[in-house]
Every structure is written in C-alpha cells, then in structure tokens.
C-alpha cells in the first residue's frame, strides 16, 4: 500500500518520535509513505492569524505538489496540518473568489482531487483487521485515555470525521491492539494549545485538568494523535509536577507508539526515550514481553 506523506514541521522537530514510530509501524504493516517533494509550511501556527489568503495558499501549494506526483491521498499525521489542509481544500472548493486568487498566486489551476487523511483515517484505510494480525505483545494492562483535542475532529462540517462531541475512532484502534480504552470526560477538552507559548499558565491549568481526569479514571497512559496535544500534556507536565507536588505523573504516548509496542518494536525505535515524562517504568511494569500471543 502507498500513501502520500506530508510530515509538517512538528514531525521533523518536537514530534520526531511521532515520525519515527509512524514509520516503524508502517514498515511492519508493509505500507509505504512517499514524502511530498519540496513541501512547505501548512500555515498552522501563525499564517492563519496573520493572513487568511496565505493560510489557504500554503496548503494548496502542498496539495498541488502531491497531485503532480500522482498521489491519490496524503497522510498528515499532525492534527494541525491535517486541519489546515482540509480547511484549505474546503475553502477552495466552495469559495470561487478565493480559488481564483490562490490560482493567481500559485500560477496554476487548482482541482481538488487529493484525499487528506489524518492518522486514524490512515489506519482505518489500512484496515483494522490487518493491524490485528500484526499484534505480538499483550497490552491488556494498558489503560489508555484517548485524547482527541480539538483539531482532529473540528470543525465537523469540514472534516466530517468521527462524532465531534463524542469521538470514538481512537478507542476502536486501541481496543483492536488489545489495550483497554477507558471512559473519561476530557477527551475533547481544550489543552490551551494556541497559548502554548504566550500564556503557559493557562495551558498548564487546562492540561492539568485533562491529566487529572485521566488519572482519576484509572488511566496509566494518555494516547494522542497530535503533536500540539503531546507537547502540552507531556512537556508542560514537567512544570505542572513541579508546581503541584501532589500531582501524579502520567506518560503521554502517540497512538503510533502504542501500536508499535503491541507489535513488539523496541523502545528506542519508537522514540520512547524522547519524552519528558518517561513512559518506560510504567511500560516495564504493565507490558509483559514474554506474554506473546499470536
């Protein structure tokens, strides 16, 4: 199976482990990612507040490049990239004036043909059945709180992915690989992502609420599919722990890392050493490597 690949900036920087683990897992599943040649910024973090047209034109350029390479679909693992690509595609489809402007900028006609997939969408395309056959390690002790954040499922009218108010597609994958998704209340609450840099205090407060609800509902790990979610819950957790001595730590894993674990991949290849909150002690306690079930 072949998919176009748009890594975006996070997966080459702060979310390197996301990229690593994704590629490792796809190797096992015999899936090829073809990176878009000469891709540029998707406009997620600053373009869309600075210039609307830029925030539409940047993703449009990337999608055009994908089209030139004959790609049918593009995987954007970062939820912010996914969101930008989808929104741009939507706007160009329904706003003719905008489309003409962007065509002028890109000096090329735009035709919407590329399917944009987020991480979960990618696994759904690959097929949950196929993933199941690749499972080697028993993860039944892992109680995972699946955290969707905002960008993966909203705005629903454009993304048309899962139920925006009560999504469940990540839980489906988590249970396929034998881990236990928990019921909790904060799976779509805001982590404060937009204020990550300028107002970390808000972020810490919001992220703390999320962490605590997961802990309260007996989770031993939070699973995410977005680098923003990850940095707010993982990186900011350090500070939260420092500020509140009562606070318990909980590791934050990318969905791909959990998948990798279930496939028996090693910690280093999955980038598990790259987290602020070290997941290894928890994993050593909960994941019994000898319990191989095929």
């Amino acid at each position: 199976m072949n998919f176009g690949y748009y890594p975006g900036c996070s997966l080459q920087g702060t979310a390197k482990e996301f990229d690593l683990s994704l590629k490792e897992v796809l190797k096992v599943l015999d899936v090829n990612l073809n990176e878009i040649n000469d891709w540029c910024c998707c406009g997620a973090s600053s373009a869309h507040v600075m210039s609307h047209i830029l925030s539409v034109a940047l993703p449009a350029r990337n999608l055009l490049l994908a089209k030139h390479r004959g790609m049918q679909n593009v995987v954007a693992p970062c939820a912010a990239c996914y969101n930008r690509l989808k929104v741009s595609q939507h706007e160009l489809k329904f706003d003719e004036k905008m489309r003409m402007k962007v065509e002028e900028i890109l000096e090329e006609k735009i035709s919407n043909g590329v399917e944009i997939l987020n991480l979960i969408g990618l696994f759904q395309k690959i097929g949950l059945g196929k993933i199941k056959t690749a499972i080697k390690i028993n993860l039944k002790e892992i109680k995972a709180a699946c955290y969707y954040g905002c960008l993966l499922v909203r705005p629903h009218d454009i993304l048309k992915f899962d139920d925006p108010e009560n999504p469940s597609s990540m839980e489906e994958i988590v249970s396929i690989i034998g881990a236990k998704p928990i019921e909790w209340n904060y799976k779509i609450e805001c982590c404060g992502a937009s204020h990550s840099i300028d107002n970390t205090e808000i972020v810490e407060q919001l992220s703390k609420n999320i962490l605590n609800d997961a802990i309260k509902h007996d989770a031993n790990v939070i699973v995410v599919a977005c680098p923003m979610c990850h940095s707010n819950l993982d990186m900011r957790q350090k500070n939260i722990l420092k500020k509140y001595p009562q606070q318990k730590a909980i590791p934050i894993l990318y969905l791909t890392q959990l998948l990798g674990l279930s496939m028996g991949l090693n910690y280093k290849d999955l980038g598990l050493h790259l987290h602020y909150i070290n997941p290894v002690p928890m994993l050593e306690e909960k994941v019994k490597v000898e319990e191989v079930t095929i």
């Binding site: 139920d163 925006p164 108010e165 009560n166 209340n185 609800d213 309260k216």
Partner: protein, 668 residues
C-alpha cells in the same frame, strides 16, 4: 366573440405604476374586444356592477379583468359574471398587481407590460369554453388517524355532530403522549384526570368505531369518497371476549425483559401487557417478540388463567376496508432521541450531553413519568440510577430545537413551558432542592403562560441561566453540567444530581410514509404541510384531508385541541351537503390518441390517473388508455406536460390557450 376588458387601479396599488386609462384604451383596439374600461376598485360593488352592466348592455360572452392575483379575486369576478349570465370559466384574470405594478417602478414600461399581459389574456379567453363544476357524492363518515388528544377531540366533535368516525391508533391504547404527562401547564391539572374521561367517551360513543393497535395501510379515492385499508394487528387476544380483568397480565412470567414504552424505558413490562392502567381499550396485547410461547412453544400461562378463553395465539393481522368521506391526520410527534445520529439522518446527536450513557440524564418525557403518580416511582422525585432524591437538578432547554448545527432550525414551542412546569413540580416535591434552567430565550406566548414562568422563577425560586450547556459528564456520581451564563458573561459549572433535556419535537418516523400514502405534502422534517399557514391552517392540498395537532408542527395541548376541533369543523362542512362541487380545472385524456403508455400515471402526485380498458361491444379488449379521475385531480398539469402524444389536456389551460397567449406576446 364579444370580449369585455376591465382594468382595475386597485386604489394606488396598480394605478401608481401602471397608467390604467392608457391600458384600457389600448385594450379597446384588440380584435374581439367590444368593451374596455378602467375603474379604481373593480372588486367593489360598484366595480362589479360595471362588469355586470357591460355584459348585459354589450352582450359580452367573455371577460378579462386586469387586477390583483387570481388567488384574491378570481372567484369574485367569476361570480359577478355568472350572475350576469356568462359561464364563470369564460373569465380570465391578468395579474397586473403582483406580476407588474408591485415589482416595477418605471411607469411607461410597466404600462407597456400591462398591455402585453392584457393582450395575452384576451387571446387566451378566445379559446376558453364553458365548463361546469364537477359534482361528486359524499360519504358522510370520517377517518381519524391517531388517537392522541388531537385525534380524540376531532373524533368526539364529529361523532357528537351525528356522523360516524373510525379512529385508528397504532398503539394498543389511545391517549397518546398526553396520557404520559404528569401535570399540564399553565394550570397544573393532572393530565390523566382530564384526559381519561375523554378516552372513555370515545370508547363508549355509539358513533365512534375505535380501532386500536391498527395502522392505515392504503388509501384510495378522493374527497368525499375515500376507500381505506386498515391493518388490524394481531393482539393475540379476542377483543370481543376479553373483559379486561388483567389476570393474564398478572400471571405472565416474562416480566422484566421489555422496557415499558409508556414509561419511556424507565420501567419494564410483561410480554402480556396493557400500556397503562387506564388504557382504552383495556385489552392486553402479547408482545410476540419476547413471549416464550411464540419463541419456543412453551408457557401458555395467559391462556390457562383466562376464564373467557379470549387468548388466541393463532390470531393473524386482519385487513379491514372502510369507506369514508374525509380523513383527519392526527399522528402527533415523537421526541428527538439525542443519542448518536442514525447514519442516514441529517440530524446530529448530542454526544456531549451523555444521554443514554448516564442514567441520570433523562429526556423531558422521562421526567414526566418520574413526576407522574402513575409512573415508575409513583410520583416520588427519585433519580433513575440509585433511586435517591436529586437535590440539585438542571433543566436544559432547546436540546435540538433552534440548533442549526444539529439539523433543526425550528422552535419546538412547548419546551419553555414544560420546563418551567418540570422545575415547578420538582420544587413542589423537593422543597430544599435547587433547580436550574438553561435557556436561550423564554418563549411564553399564550394565555397565562408568561405568568406561569414568572411563578416558577419568583415563587418557586427556580434559577434561570441564559446560556447554552457545552457538556455534561459524570464525576464521583455527580452529573457535571458545564455551560455559560451569557448575561453575567461567566462560565458555569453545576455539580447536579440529575439533568433533564428538553429535546426537540419531531415528526413521527412513519409520518412521511403516511403522507405519501395519502398524497399530501410534508416538509423536510416530516411535518405534514397545511395549504396556507394563515388562512387554511388545517387543510392539506388534497381535498377532504385535514390536519390536527403536532403532526403539522410542534404544538401544545390547547393548540392541538383547538386545531382538532377546527379540522372536525372542516370535515363537518363537507358532510353538510350530499354532493360536492369542485372546480372543473382538471386533466382530460383524449382517448382516441392516447397510446396507453401511462407515463402520466407515473408522474401524478395525487394518484388521480388510472388505466382504463376500452373494449368493443363483445367485450374484447381494444386498448388501454389513461383515465383521469376528476374527483382526485388537482389540476397541476404535470400529466399534460409529460404526455408524449399530447393526449392529455388541462381544462382551462389547454394547449391552444397557452399557445394563443405566447403568440399574443410574441407578436409585439
């Protein structure tokens, strides 16, 4: 042809933008026109007299009036002409007001357009022929579909006027949603106490034939002459033998399998059941999907205990044919079920409110059952999860209603009132409890309604918060309600014990199917359409079929009852004469040229076209042709446009008439 042309100024309405004297003058020169004049108000008595006088003096045999829309005054002018001795269908109206003066502002060009319009009508009227109204006999019986309060009221009104009624209800008992309610706003009288006497009256009325546990399967015919097929579903109990003693229900061993429909799933019912103690008729039904006898042939306990030998396991659905002259649709509503949305529906669910996930998040109707003396808690205010008294309760209005994002644009109309009532009932039973209401606006239009809401706020201390709830979740056994107070501009979080969702009223799931069977239009939500929202609110576009209650749009009890009586009055108007007169603007088939392809039958929205066999004198089939039942035909002209061989014509709008108009227009 001697045509008279009359141009109306409609006060200033036409006169301001159309030079009426000029139009009148121009019309005088049209070939065939022997009289032309203009007048300020042609519809007034003196105006009509001008027409009548001209007809007599100039011996006119056709008339064209340039005035307002034919919807307004076609009847007036036709009658005036008819009084003066011309066939009323020799009169044509040019709509100079809506189609010309109101939409233009340049006088010279509007005047030219008006002249064109008049010329077209003059040319058309030359091809008009005299038509006679269609007369059809009336069967003086009514069918009422739906046994809720609307259907009950309509049935009683018609029956009390002395005409027979067949009341069809799909559930085992009549009573509808009103029978589930605890108390009613704004008087707080007990719903069942005021309803059950009506239900009994229906049952005992000699003129009402009650068919419960039955559904309308098919409807044929037309106003005054409907032929209805009703499916009487198998109760497995012979209703003529059953005395309603209830022993079989008591002894049925399958007690806890099925959730009670009447109690909105808050309690269970046996496989052998009557929906509620005051059910009418008080005859049980066997739920064959869970009865052990129907599943594996064992038990028969009900049969053993029945002293009247009324249990009949072999009973089959029965199809009953009835002839009626009028049909009243009173199928009511259902509540939006809030869960995840069904795949094929444009309606979104409210995953964020956790309905179905948390037992203590209930719908409005479920709360009615909790508050009702006949409900699962015998009227005690106990929450479903642990049967404890909720000390803090949150009511949320507009769940679905007025929420475009969820697929509803309309207001459900009753929720503001019943939520105030709920909060009040709660406070009356739990004095130290706190009740919160989240609302968008309070819409309390109605007699004593605003006062009722104020009473909830001022006397009973219900706390109203203007704003929406974004999320409900459970934490430490509490129902956490997160929302916004948009007046104070703050976020609100309430750790409640229970939440009640005032969910949108929706059309019954089967309503569109029934509407299709009856040939009446319905809107995108499945509510059945009235002909005119102001002037013909209880009539459908199919003659003889009327509407009552919430099947038309969300409606409370007083409105539903008023509408039911109105619908009954409409049916009674129909029954007031032995023969019906209908406008003869119907389609007619030229049997000589009709090839019998029956495309017209396929496109007819009113099931008015049927196949007719033409036989020779020995009874041998010569050919099959289309035949238009003039009682059913609504004169829409779709068959006319569809016919490949031009064999169907719409009387009053025949092809020559239309071509004459086009030619008159193209000549310029």
């Amino acid at each position: 042809m001697r045509i008279g042309v009359f141009t109306c100024h409609c006060g200033e309405n036409i006169g301001r933008t159309v030079d009426c004297p000029a139009v009148s003058k121009a019309c005088a020169d049209f070939p065939g026109v022997v009289h032309s004049e203009d007048y300020k108000y042609m519809c007034s008595d003196p105006g009509q007299n001008l027409i009548k006088q001209a007809i007599k003096e100039k011996n006119l045999n056709a008339v064209v009036v340039g005035s307002c829309s034919p919807h307004m005054h076609e009847k007036t002018f036709r009658k005036a002409c008819s009084d003066a001795g011309i066939n009323p269908f020799q009169v044509e109206i040019a709509n100079l007001r809506e189609h010309c003066s109101w939409i233009h502002d340049d006088v010279p060009s509007a005047t030219l357009k008006a002249i064109d319009m008049m010329r077209m009508m003059v040319e058309k009227v030359k091809f008009n022929g005299p038509l006679t109204p269609i007369r059809v006999p009336v069967t003086k019986r009514a069918l009422v579909i739906g046994g809720g309060i609307s259907g009950i009221q309509a049935s009683l009104d018609i029956a009390n006027a002395g005409y027979e009624v067949i009341l069809v209800e799909k559930e085992p008992s009549i009573g509808g949603h009103m029978s589930q309610l605890s108390e009613t706003f704004p008087t707080l009288d007990c719903s069942q106490c005021i309803l059950t006497p009506r239900m009994v009256e229906v049952y005992q009325h000699s003129k009402i034939k009650l068919m419960s546990y039955s559904e309308v399967e098919n409807v044929e015919g037309f106003i005054g002459n409907f032929s209805v097929t009703i499916r009487k579903k198998a109760r497995s109990v012979k209703d003529e033998l059953c005395t309603g003693c209830g022993l079989c229900v008591q002894k049925c061993p399958i007690k806890k399998v099925a959730l009670s429909e009447f109690d909105e799933g808050l309690a269970t019912r046996p496989a052998m059941y009557v929906p509620f103690p005051q059910a009418v008729p008080n005859i049980p039904v066997i739920d064959r999907t869970i009865c052990t006898y129907f599943k594996n042939g064992k038990c028969q306990m009900c049969k053993k205990v029945c002293g009247r030998e009324a249990i009949d396991f072999e009973q089959q659905d029965e199809l009953v044919k009835e002839e009626v002259g009028s049909i009243i649709i009173a199928t009511g509503y259902k509540l939006y079920t809030i869960d995840k949305k069904p795949d094929d529906s444009p309606i979104h669910g409210y995953g964020e409110y956790g309905y179905g996930k948390y037992k203590d998040v209930v719908s409005g109707l479920q709360f009615e059952r909790i508050a009702s003396a006949s409900g699962p808690t015998s009227g005690e205010m106990l929450r479903p999860s642990d049967k404890k008294v909720p000390k803090k309760i949150v009511f949320i209005q507009c769940v679905g209603s007025r929420d475009e994002a969820k697929g509803f644009s309309y207001c459900s109309k009753i929720c503001c009132m019943y939520t105030a009532k709920h909060a009040m009932l709660y406070k009356h039973k739990v004095h130290d409890g706190e009740a919160y209401v989240f609302y968008m606006d309070i819409r309390a239009g109605g007699k004593m309604y605003e006062e009722f809401v104020r009473r909830a706020i001022e006397e009973d201390g219900v706390k109203y918060i203007r704003g929406r709830v974004s999320r409900i979740y459970q934490d430490d056994g509490k129902i956490i309600v997160k929302g916004e107070d948009t007046i104070a501009g703050v976020k609100v979080e309430i750790d409640a014990d229970m939440a009640v969702l005032a969910t949108a009223m929706m059309a019954q799931t089967e309503a569109p199917k029934l509407a299709q069977t009856l040939g009446v239009p319905y809107d995108k939500y499945g509510f059945i359409n009235e002909v005119h929202p102001k002037l013909r609110p209880v009539e459908t576009s199919s003659g003889g079929i009327f509407l009552a209650g919430a099947c038309n749009s969300p409606r409370d009890i007083p409105d539903s009852v008023a509408m039911a009586s109105a619908a009954a009055a409409k049916a009674l108007v129909l029954f007031g004469s032995d023969m019906l007169e209908r406008e003869p603007v119907v389609a007619k088939v030229n049997e000589a040229t009709c090839a019998g392809c029956l495309y017209c039958k396929k496109v007819c929205a009113y099931n008015a076209v049927e196949a007719k066999e033409i036989k020779d004198r020995n009874g041998n089939l010569i050919k099959v042709v289309a035949y238009v039942n003039s009682g059913l035909c609504q004169g829409c002209g779709t068959c006319n446009a569809t016919c490949p061989s031009k064999s169907v014509e719409l009387l009053g709008f025949k092809d020559d008439q239309i071509y004459a108009q086009i030619n008159a227009f193209a000549e310029v």
